[in-house]
């Protein structure tokens, strides 16, 4: 019987843990929103991200909430499984009666939620997923996306890369949708701007399983003048180290997506590459009022500097709050209408959710990497506003199914 008791206790513990973890969602006069992300994986992104949105929630509630109501977030972990994400979404919507859904990191999870939102007519703000399909091929009336998509970020880099005289290009990207999209967009845009370039090699390491030495050798064999890199996180570290040791980067123009973000640049420390054209987040150098205020608040609360994820989380809640203020209530149709064309102030300046494809105009920073005090930083950066890197309206209309 001892055994039975142990198991009873262990189940009971679970229930208690679960009960504690759920905030009192129906406390008087609160607006409850659901948030889903892959917290148990990709912690280097999700933890700063959670810090970011928590800061925003705190700020909003401290300044009186939304129309007098407190904003409450029920946050759940999808473990990177799209099926789980849908189940959690069902639960949030049906049982917890949340007003809307937001979050997610992986594109496939984001797409699963997009489809869920469409069928169940639930408002969904995708924060991080970069997939172009999210707002275009698979876009729908109920889904919005905050971050600049793969296409936009690739376009920002391609614009700058086109200025470089290099003509023989190679690409290396993780072998899944994000990598493939990022390469496709970059190649298309660069070729449009520079018909003289040719792509001489395309390497596709498996995500987080890069065999960096072999990949570098394979790239070197094609002898490109410039390389477009999409690998990130642990793959990037290995790529950089092997490339340096094998003298691959010498005399080559390197363009690299996301590499300037502190999440990915900081772990490289003194070995951060120099002179790479990257997108990123030079939080240390951004002196706008909006950003300084955010930076100070973040540092004060967490005693740490923000990462790109922090801004994404922070902006996500800001966007939702502004939308709710504008909509006046939590009716989905009214929320969707309020979100379309909504402009809200963010640490990166004002951001608008386009009516045409529900993509936000949040941008990112484009610049070159360099070493400063033994740490990788961005130099000569500029803020690339998202609205300038989206295709024309006619093209967008053709990409997006009619609602």
């Amino acid at each position: 019987m001892r055994v039975v008791r142990i198991v009873m206790i262990c189940f009971a513990m679970n229930f208690i843990a679960a009960a504690l973890a759920v905030p009192l969602s129906f406390a008087g006069g609160a607006i409850t929103v659901g948030e889903i992300n892959t917290y148990s994986k990709l912690t280097n992104f999700t933890i700063p991200y959670r810090n970011g949105w928590r800061l925003a929630v705190e700020e909003i509630n401290n300044s009186g909430g939304i129309g007098g109501k407190k904003l409450e977030v029920i946050s759940r972990d999808d473990a990177g499984k799209p099926g789980n994400a849908v189940k959690i979404a069902e639960e949030l919507v049906r049982r917890d009666k949340v007003a809307l859904l937001m979050g997610s990191f992986f594109s496939h999870v984001g797409l699963a939620l997009t489809d869920f939102a469409k069928r169940n007519r639930v408002f969904y703000l995708a924060a991080e997923p970069l997939s172009d399909a999210l707002v275009w091929a698979k876009g729908n009336r109920y889904t919005f996306r905050l971050r600049p998509s793969t296409y936009m970020q690739a376009a920002m880099l391609a614009e700058e890369a086109a200025k470089n005289p290099a003509r023989r290009w190679a690409t290396i990207a993780p072998n899944y949708a994000y990598g493939k999209d990022a390469v496709k967009s970059f190649v298309r845009i660069l070729k449009a701007k520079r018909p003289d370039v040719q792509f001489v090699a395309a390497q596709w390491p498996a995500l987080f399983k890069i065999d960096a030495g072999s990949e570098i050798q394979a790239l070197a064999k094609a002898d490109p003048q410039a390389v477009y890199n999409v690998t990130f996180s642990g793959d990037l570290a290995k790529f950089v180290r092997e490339g340096k040791l094998r003298g691959f980067f010498k005399g080559r123009f390197m363009v690299s997506l996301l590499t300037g973000e502190p999440e990915y640049l900081d772990p490289l420390r003194g070995e951060a590459p120099e002179g790479w054209l990257v997108t990123g987040y030079p939080w240390y150098d951004i002196k706008t009022r909006a950003h300084t205020r955010f930076l100070e608040a973040y540092r004060k609360k967490y005693n740490d500097y923000p990462r790109m994820g922090s801004v994404v989380g922070y902006n996500m809640v800001l966007a939702v709050a502004s939308m709710l203020n504008r909509a006046g209530d939590t009716n989905t149709d009214r929320m969707v209408r309020a979100m379309e064309g909504l402009t809200f102030p963010s640490p990166f300046g004002p951001i608008t959710f386009r009516k045409i494809d529900h993509q936000s105009t949040m941008g990112t920073f484009v610049g070159y990497t360099t070493l400063k005090n033994g740490k990788g930083v961005m130099r000569d950066w500029r803020y690339a506003d998202g609205r300038e890197y989206l295709p024309g309206d006619a093209e967008v209309r053709s990409l997006r199914p009619r609602d």
Binding site: V7, C10, N14, A17, A18, L20, A21, V22, Y39, S40, K41, T43, N44, I47, R76, D77, D78, A79, K81, P82, V86, E91, R94, R95, S107, H108, L111, A112, D115, F116, R119, S131, A133, N175, Y176, Y178, Q203, W204, P205, F208, K209, D211, A212, G213, S214, Q217, A218, A220, K221, S233, G234, A237, K238, R241, E242, L245, R246, P267, R269, E271
Partner: protein
């Protein structure tokens, strides 16, 4: 010429790294027959400990290698602790429970590592004195890679001496070849196993530490390396250290040149090689066939009983409650119960071949996810109505299972399991890469039920009836000659063949039936989720199913249902808390230690107090 040589040398250094992780895994399996899922976790801990040790110790080559050794020893001790506190209690339990226990350790270590080592990726330090490169015919080759190339043969030679020139090593080899004999000789098995676990974990830690200068430490390392390690071990032949070395060499070179000639091959190269090797050599390159002809499956000790009256009543009550459920439950509860039912069918189909059939599959998600994809693709491309898609999904999966099963039933034990894994991974890669047809990683969206079933209550009934029907059908099948023939092949191949049963053919058919029902589960599942992604066919998904089966208990017919309910329920509960893997892992460990026969197995053992004779007697007269 230079670049080719460097590519070749790079392949060698990859092989070295692979060998270091695989050697320990192979050693542990050879002696204790534990399929150690936590091996990758030990590798990861090795990397982290070495990182902190090296940054804490003084600079310099001596201290660098000292730090690596310290890490290996620490991990060795960690492995010893796991062995003494956990595995030692359950050596008598079925092999599959060891798998579950070590998987639990993996989960626990994942969260503990996050907690202790932090979330940020760590870039490994460079090795002092080996931080440059050398010129080889005009191409640069990192010095550390050269060092790595030398380390693996050194370890191989060291292991060879240990195993062939010391008394302890002779005992280890004896244990690898014949456990019974060793027990008969009166050797202290406990101490031997602990020693082997220390050595195996030490090697895993060494592998993780040694790769630091080539990468670093991050929290995904464990899962990323474990599959590769298993592939090397299986290709080389389980328990064979030279085999692991040979396999590492082959795989290292093939992946290195694969990257050069077929850049897209990165997803499947290893699994493809494994499939080819296992099809040609069922026990790996240097593995020895186990005496499968004579070993009686441990599962054969559990007779299959018809439902007792108590269980029938329970079942009927459960069915009634489920049918009346929509009257009083909220809509989310309906969805949750529906999901449990669908998942239970997938689990039942795996249980069907794993329990009574004696064939463990590590790749069952190929059929579950495959069914989901089959249904989704029919709907997406040719607008098939849901009803037809639900017929086509199991049909397609039965065909797929016939193809895959044809190869797999030629093998047995872990080799069979790994071959199913290889095929599942190949199917997964096809789905990922063939974006035009399958949607690739972006999946297939918009697969919702026909309008008449769109209502959640109706869909609930649909899910319950299809899943429940499938589960009962599989259950019934076990009592028909079809199921008995399969069980006969598990119980004794020798006897089965002697009475005229075509063993492989029976297993082949059973495999196809299991694939078919998993396909049915996947088919209905996709309509409940509305979308399907390659994840549903991936290795983690296969393990979800396998773990649920084990959770419920492999000896009990109601195990899959109980296991599925427990798994989905737990997953739902704990996704609200941080460190849920720690909790899940702890629960698994508790279960394994307290209920080695699984939840349902435990209860059925308690219920079935009446002597078997009586029950069977009443059956026959009735």
């Amino acid at each position: 010429m230079g670049p080719f040589i460097v590519q070749f040398l790079t392949g060698l250094s990859n092989a070295s790294a692979l060998f270091l992780v695989a050697a320990g895994l192979s050693l542990i399996f050879g002696v204790s027959r534990v399929v150690n899922m936590a091996h990758g976790s030990f590798y990861m801990v090795g990397a982290y400990v070495a990182y902190f040790a090296i940054s804490w110790l003084p600079k310099g080559g001596f201290w660098f290698w000292g730090g690596i050794l310290i890490a290996a020893v620490v991990v060795g001790l960690l492995g010893t602790v796991v062995e003494v506190l956990l595995l030692r209690r359950i050596y008598r339990a079925p092999e599959l429970f060891m798998l579950m226990a070590t998987f639990a350790v993996l989960l626990v270590i994942q969260d503990l590592a996050l907690w202790v080592f932090g979330a940020e990726d760590l870039l490994g330090p460079r090795a002092p004195g080996l931080d440059g490169s050398i010129q080889i015919l005009g191409a640069l080759m990192p010095e550390y890679d050269i060092a790595l190339i030398l380390i693996a043969p050194l370890v191989l030679v060291g292991l060879w001496f240990l195993l062939n020139r010391t008394r302890w090593g002779v005992l280890v080899r004896a244990a690898t070849e014949d456990r019974e004999m060793l027990a008969a000789l009166g050797v202290n098995q406990k101490r031997l196993f602990t020693g082997v676990f220390f050595l195996g974990s030490f090697l895993a830690g060494l592998g993780g530490a040694v790769q630091l200068p080539k990468g670093g430490a991050d929290l995904l390392m464990d899962l990323n390396v474990i599959a590769a390690a298993f592939v090397v071990v299986v290709v080389g032949g389980m328990g064979s250290i030279p085999g692991a070395f040979l396999a590492a060499l082959i795989l290292g070179e093939l992946t290195s040149f694969g990257v050069l000639f077929i850049p897209q091959s990165t997803l499947v190269m290893m699994f493809f090689v494994m499939a080819v090797v296992l099809v040609i050599r069922p026990y790996g390159l240097l593995g020895k066939p186990e005496g499968v002809e004579h070993t009686v499956s441990e599962l054969a000790q559990w007779p299959l009983r018809k439902a007792s009256r108590k269980l029938r009543v329970t079942g009927a009550v459960l069915a009634a409650v489920l049918l009346a459920f929509p009257l009083f439950a909220g809509s989310f509860q309906l969805i949750l119960i529906g999901e449990i039912a669908m998942f239970a069918l997938a689990c039942m189909s795996l249980f069907f071949i794993t329990g009574p059939g004696g064939m463990v599959s590590f790749g069952h998600a190929a059929f579950f996810g495959g069914g989901a994809y089959a249904a989704a693709l029919f709907v997406h491309h040719v607008n098939t109505p849901m009803e037809l898609a639900l017929l086509l999904a199991p049909t397609c999966m039965a065909l797929l299972a016939l193809v895959i099963g044809w190869f797999c039933v030629r093998l047995s034990g872990v080799y069979l399991a790994m071959l199913t894994l290889a095929f599942a991974q190949i199917c997964w890669a096809v789905v990922c890469q063939w974006g035009r047809f399958t949607g690739g990683d972006d999946g297939v969206l918009g697969i919702w039920p026909s309008p008449w079933a769109g209502n959640e209550v109706i869909f609930y009934y649909l899910a319950i009836i299809i899943s429940g029907g499938g589960i009962l059908a599989l259950r019934y099948l076990l009592f028909t000659p079809f199921g008995y023939a399969m069980r006969a092949c598990r119980d004794s191949r020798l006897r089965a063949a002697a009475i005229g049963i075509h063993v492989r053919r029976r297993q082949w058919y059973s495999f196809a039936v299991a694939g078919m029902f998993a396909g049915l589960a996947g088919g209905i599942y996709v309509f409940s989720k509305g979308s399907v992604f390659p994840y549903e066919m991936s290795i983690p998904r296969s393990f979800d199913i396998l773990l649920s089966v084990l959770l419920g208990g492999i000896h009990s017919l109601s195990g899959p249902v109980v296991g599925s309910a427990a798994f989905i329920g737990l997953e739902d509960l704990i996704s609200r808390v941080h460190f849920w893997r720690l909790i899940l892992g702890s629960i698994f460990i508790l279960l394994v230690v307290c209920f080695p026969q699984g939840i349902a197995g435990y209860f059925s053992a308690r219920f079935a107090k009446e002597p078997g004779d009586q029950e069977a007697g009443s059956e026959r007269s009735g």
